[in-house]
Symmetry: C3
Subunit: 405 residues, 3 copies
C-alpha cells in the first residue's frame, strides 16, 4: 500500500512534469507566431537551447539554492540515493520543479525577442536560473531565511502562492522587464519623439494560437500537480484554473473586440493570475480573477508599449509580471472565507511576499543582464536586426524564400 502510494506519487508528479515540459513548446510557438517571420527560427532555437542550459543550471546550482540539495554534485550521495529510494520520487520532483525554473528564460525570451544575441542570452539564462529564480523560490516554497515564519507570526498566515503567480510568473515577468530595459527597444521601434514608428503584426496567428493552446492545456499540470503528491490532489485547483482561463478568454474577447492576439493571450492571463490562489478561492472568485486578468492584460499591453515605451514584444511583463501580481493579491482577497474561499490567507502577507518577489526579480534580473551586457554585448546591431535573427544568427530562414511557399 505504501509502495503503491509512492509509485503513484511518482506518476502524479511525472504527469505534471510532462505537461509543463510541453508548455515549453507552447512558449516557443507563442513567440514564433508573434514575432516577425524573419525571427521565427531564432524564437524556436532560443527556447530549446534555453531549456538545455536551464536544466544544467538548476541541476547543479539552482535546486540546491532553493532546497539545499545540490543534486548535480552528489555531495553526500543524495543523487545516488535518489536513484533508488522512493521509486525515484525525488528525481521526478526535481524534473517537475526544473520545468518551472526553465519557464523563466522562456518568459524573458518573448520580451526581448527580435534583438538579442544568442550565446550571451544563454549565459544570462544560466545565471538567472542558477541564482536569481531559486532565491525567491526558496523563500516562498522552502521557508528559507525564515521569511514565511515571520509573515505567519506577523499576519497570521504566510505568503500563499500555490503554483507560482509570483514565484514563477511575476518573477519571470519582472526579470524580463529588467532585460528589456538593458537591451533597449528594437531598431526603428520608436521615433525620436518616442512615438511608435514600426508596427510589426504577428507573423502567424495559427502558430501564436498553437502556442496559447499548448500553454493552456499544459497549465493544468502546472497547477494541479503543484500538490506534489496524489493524496493532495484537489479538483478545486483544476476547476479554478478552468474558470480563470475562461474569465481571461471572455474579457479578452470583449475588451479587445475579437483581436486574435489578445483572445489567445487572454486564457494565459487568467491562468497566470489563478496560480497563487487556485487551491483556496471559490470557482466564482476564480472567474472574477480571470476576467480582471484578461482586462488588465488588454489594457496594460497597449499602455506599456505606447506610454511607457517598453518594447516588450510578447507583452510578457503585463502578462506574467502584472497579472501575476494581481493573482497573488487576489488570492489574499478571494481566498478569505468571507468571499467564499477556504481561508488561511492574509492580504498583508500577500502584499509583502509579492513585493519581495518582484524586488528580487527586478534587481537580480537587472544585475544579471547588465553584467552580461557589459561582458559580451547582448544586443544585435541594427543591420543584424534588419536582416533578421534567423539569417544573421542561424544562417537560415523559417521557410526557404525560393519556394512557392
Amino acid at each position: 500500500m505504501e509502495q503503491l502510494t509512492t509509485s503513484l506519487d511518482v506518476l502524479f508528479i511525472l504527469l505534471g512534469a510532462i505537461l509543463v515540459l510541453f508548455m515549453h513548446a507552447g512558449f516557443a510557438f507563442l513567440e514564433v507566431g508573434t514575432v516577425q517571420h524573419k525571427n521565427q527560427v531564432n524564437a524556436l532555437v532560443k527556447i530549446m537551447s534555453d531549456l538545455g542550459v536551464s536544466t544544467v543550471a538548476y541541476f547543479f546550482i539552482g535546486y540546491g539554492i532553493a532546497y539545499g540539495v545540490f543534486l548535480g554534485f552528489n555531495l553526500d550521495g543524495q543523487l545516488t540515493q535518489a536513484m533508488t529510494e522512493k521509486s525515484g520520487y525525488d528525481l521526478v520532483k526535481f524534473f517537475f520543479l526544473m520545468t518551472f525554473a526553465a519557464a523563466i528564460p522562456a518568459i524573458v525570451s518573448g520580451g526581448i525577442a527580435e534583438r538579442a544575441r544568442f550565446y550571451p542570452i544563454l549565459l544570462a539564462t544560466f545565471l538567472t536560473v542558477a541564482f536569481i529564480y531559486p532565491l525567491f523560490e526558496g523563500i516562498s516554497w522552502n521557508g528559507n531565511f525564515g521569511i514565511q515564519n515571520w509573515l505567519e507570526a506577523s499576519f497570521g498566515a504566510g505568503f500563499h502562492d500555490f503554483a507560482g503567480s509570483i514565484v514563477v510568473h511575476a518573477v519571470g515577468g519582472w526579470i524580463a522587464l529588467a532585460a528589456i530595459l538593458v537591451l533597449g527597444a528594437r531598431h526603428n521601434r520608436y521615433d525620436s519623439n518616442g512615438k511608435i514608428r514600426s508596427v510589426y503584426p504577428p507573423s502567424s496567428i495559427p502558430f501564436l494560437a498553437l502556442g496559447a493552446w499548448i500553454l493552456s492545456v499544459g497549465w493544468f499540470g502546472f497547477n494541479v500537480m503543484s500538490a506534489q503528491a496524489v493524496g493532495g490532489i484537489q479538483g478545486l485547483v483544476a476547476m479554478n484554473s478552468l474558470m480563470a482561463m475562461v474569465g481571461g478568454i471572455l474579457a479578452a474577447t470583449f475588451f479587445s473586440n475579437k483581436d486574435p492576439g489578445f483572445v489567445h493571450n487572454g486564457p494565459l492571463a487568467g491562468l497566470v493570475a489563478i496560480c497563487a490562489g487556485s487551491d483556496v478561492v471559490n470557482p466564482l472568485g476564480a472567474l472574477v480573477i480571470g476576467l480582471v486578468a484578461g482586462l488588465l492584460f488588454v489594457k496594460a499591453f497597449s499602455w506599456t508599449q505606447n506610454n511607457l515605451k517598453i518594447d516588450d514584444v510578447l507583452g510578457v511583463w503585463p502578462l506574467h509580471g502584472l497579472c501575476g501580481m494581481w493573482g497573488a493579491l487576489a488570492a489574499g482577497v478571494f481566498g478569505s472565507t468571507a468571499l467564499g474561499g477556504l481561508g488561511g490567507v492574509s492580504f498583508a502577507s500577500q502584499v509583502v511576499g509579492t513585493l519581495i518577489g518582484v524586488a528580487i526579480a527586478f534587481v537580480g534580473g537587472y544585475l544579471v543582464y547588465f553584467i552580461v551586457h557589459k561582458i559580451s554585448n547582448l544586443r544585435m546591431d541594427d543591420e543584424e536586426q534588419y536582416l533578421g535573427a534567423d539569417l544573421s544568427i542561424h544562417r537560415t530562414h523559417a521557410n526557404p524564400p525560393k519556394e512557392e511557399f
Copy 2:
C-alpha cells in the same frame, strides 16, 4: 485506501478533461487547415471564444438541466460543498463533462465556417450549450424523464451510448445541419442551377492534419475516461477506439485514393462511431465499425455537398451526424454476444435513442439558430465573405501579406 481511491478518481477524470480540452485545439486546427486562408483567424478565435461562452453556459445552466445541480448559482451550497468534499471530485467531473458540452459549438463551427458573424454565433453557442445539448445528455446519461427506464422495460436494455456517439457527436452534427440550413451556403458556392461554382481547397493540409492528430490523441481521454472512476477503467475501450480509428484511416485511404483531407478525417469518423459501443463491442467489431465509418464519411461528404447542396465546410454533418448515428446503431449490433460483444444492448433501444437524440438536436438547433438569426443576422454579407472573415471581423490576417512568407 478510500481516500486514495478518491484522489485517483479525481486524477483519472482530470486526465480525461485535459485530453478533451486539448481536443478543442484539434477542432481549431482542423478548421484552420480546411477553410480558406482568409478565414483562418476567424476559425481560431471562434473556437477559443466559444469555449469561454460554453463553460459559463454549462456552469450556470446546462449542467443543472442535465444533472439537476446548478453549480454556478450555488443554490443549496453545492458549489461550496464540492470545493472540499471528495477532494473536489464533483468539480473535476463538471470540468470533464463541460469539455464534452463545449464540443457542440466546436462541431457546429466547422459546418458554418467562412460566413458566420461573430457575436451572434456566441449567443447561439450560449443557448445551445445551456438548453439544447443538456436536454438529451440528461435523458441519456442521467435517466431524465424516465426514458431510459421505459426503453429498458420495453426492450430489455436502455439506450447505450458510452461516450457520446449520439449525445455529443450526432447531436453536434445535427445542430450543425440546422445551423447550416439557417445560414445558407457561402456566397458563390453554388450557381443558379445548384451546381458547385467555387471549390475552395484546404488552405493548409499541415494544420488540418495537426488538428486531426490532436483530436485523435485526445479522443482516448474522451472515451476511456467516460468511465468516470479509475475502478471502472476498461482497456477494452481504449483498444476498440484504436481499432475503429485504424478502420477509419484504412477505409479513408483506400476509398478516397489517398486524399489528404479524407485520410485525416478517416480516424475521426472511426472514433465518432466507436464512442457508443466502445465498452461492449469486440475489437474486431470495432475495426469493422471504423471501416464502415470511414467509407460512410468519404461517400456522404461528397454526396451532401453535390447532391443535397448542403454547404457544410468541414463535413461535420456526415462526420459527426451520420457516423455518430452509425455508431449508435452498430453498438446495438456488434455489442450483442452473438457477434462477440459483451451484450446488454438492444438494437430497438439504439434506434429509438438515436432518433430522439437527432430530433432534439435538429429541432432545438433549428430553433436556436433561427431565433438568433431573426434577432441579429447570423450571416456575413457577400462583400464581407469576399474580403474574408479575418479582415472583416478581426481586422487582421493569419499572416501579414507584406511579408515574404
Copy 3:
C-alpha cells in the same frame, strides 16, 4: 486493492500508449518540416496510413511472433478473454507495444522521403511490422529462441534494452538504411561525380520544431511506461531521459553552431540513446550519453550524406540507427556500478545483442524492400519527383498556390 492495482496498471500503460501515439504526430511534423514544400502532404498521409497498416499487421501477425499471442485470430479465445480479464490490461498492453512497432515505418518514412511511391510502401510497412520488427522484439523482450538465456549464462547478464534503443530505434534506423539503398538517392541529389548537386533546405523550421517537441514530450511515455506496471515506475527513468535529452540539445547547439535542424534533432538523439539504459545509469551518465549522442548525430549526419552518398532525408540512420547503437553500448558501460549505475548489465551482451538486432534489421529490411521493389516498383520516376509527391500522388498541394499565403 488488487483490483485497484489492476485498474492503475491499465491506466499507466494507457497513458504510455497515448503519449507514444502522439509521437506519431511528431514523426509526421518532423518530416513535414524537413522535406521540400512539394512533399509535405505526402509526409502526412504516409505517417497516418502507415499507422493504420501497422496496427493491422501487428494485431494479426507481429504481436503473435513476438509474444506468441495472435490476438487478431482469437485462436484460443485470447481476444475474447482479454476483453474482460484484468480490466482489459492485455489489450492496452498490445496498444502500447503497437505504438512502438508502428514507429518502425515512421522512422523509415523520413529516410526514404520525397521519392517513394505510396501503396508499395504500405505493403513494405505491412511486411516489416508483421515479420521483421517482432523477430528481434521477441528475442529481446520475450526471451524467444533462448538468446537472452544464453547471453546471461555466458556473460552474467542478458542484453539490456529497457525501452528500445536497439529494439525500436536501431532496428528502425537500419531498416531505413536498407530501404534507402534499395530506392536510391533522390533525382538530382548527387551529380555524376557523387558530389551533392541539390541541397534542399527544410521547408518549414516551425513544423520541424513542432515535430521535435511532440516527439520529445511523448518520449517520456515511451521510456517511463516501458515498466508496464505502475508498481515498477522509476523516477530514475524519467530523470535520465531528461538529462540525455538535455545533453543532446546542448551538444547539438554548440557543435552545429545553432543550426535549427540540428538543435531540434539533438534532443531526439539523446532520447534515442538513453532508451536502453534509462533504468540503470546515473543521471550524470545520462547527461554524458546525451552529449555524445548529440555530437554523434551532428557529425554523422553530414558525413553520411557527403561521404557515404546515403540520401537519408531526415538522417534517420544516424539518428535512430547509430545513436541507438551508441545507447545500447553505453548502457553496458554507464550502467555498471563502477560508473555510478545500478549494475546488472554486461558490455559483452550489449555488443552481441546490438549486432544481432542490427543484422536482423538490415538483412530483413533489405529483403522486404527489395522484394516489394521487384513486385511493384517503390520509386517515383524523375518527373514525379520533380513535380513533387503531393501533386503526383495526392493530386493536391500543402497550401493552394493561388492563395496569397
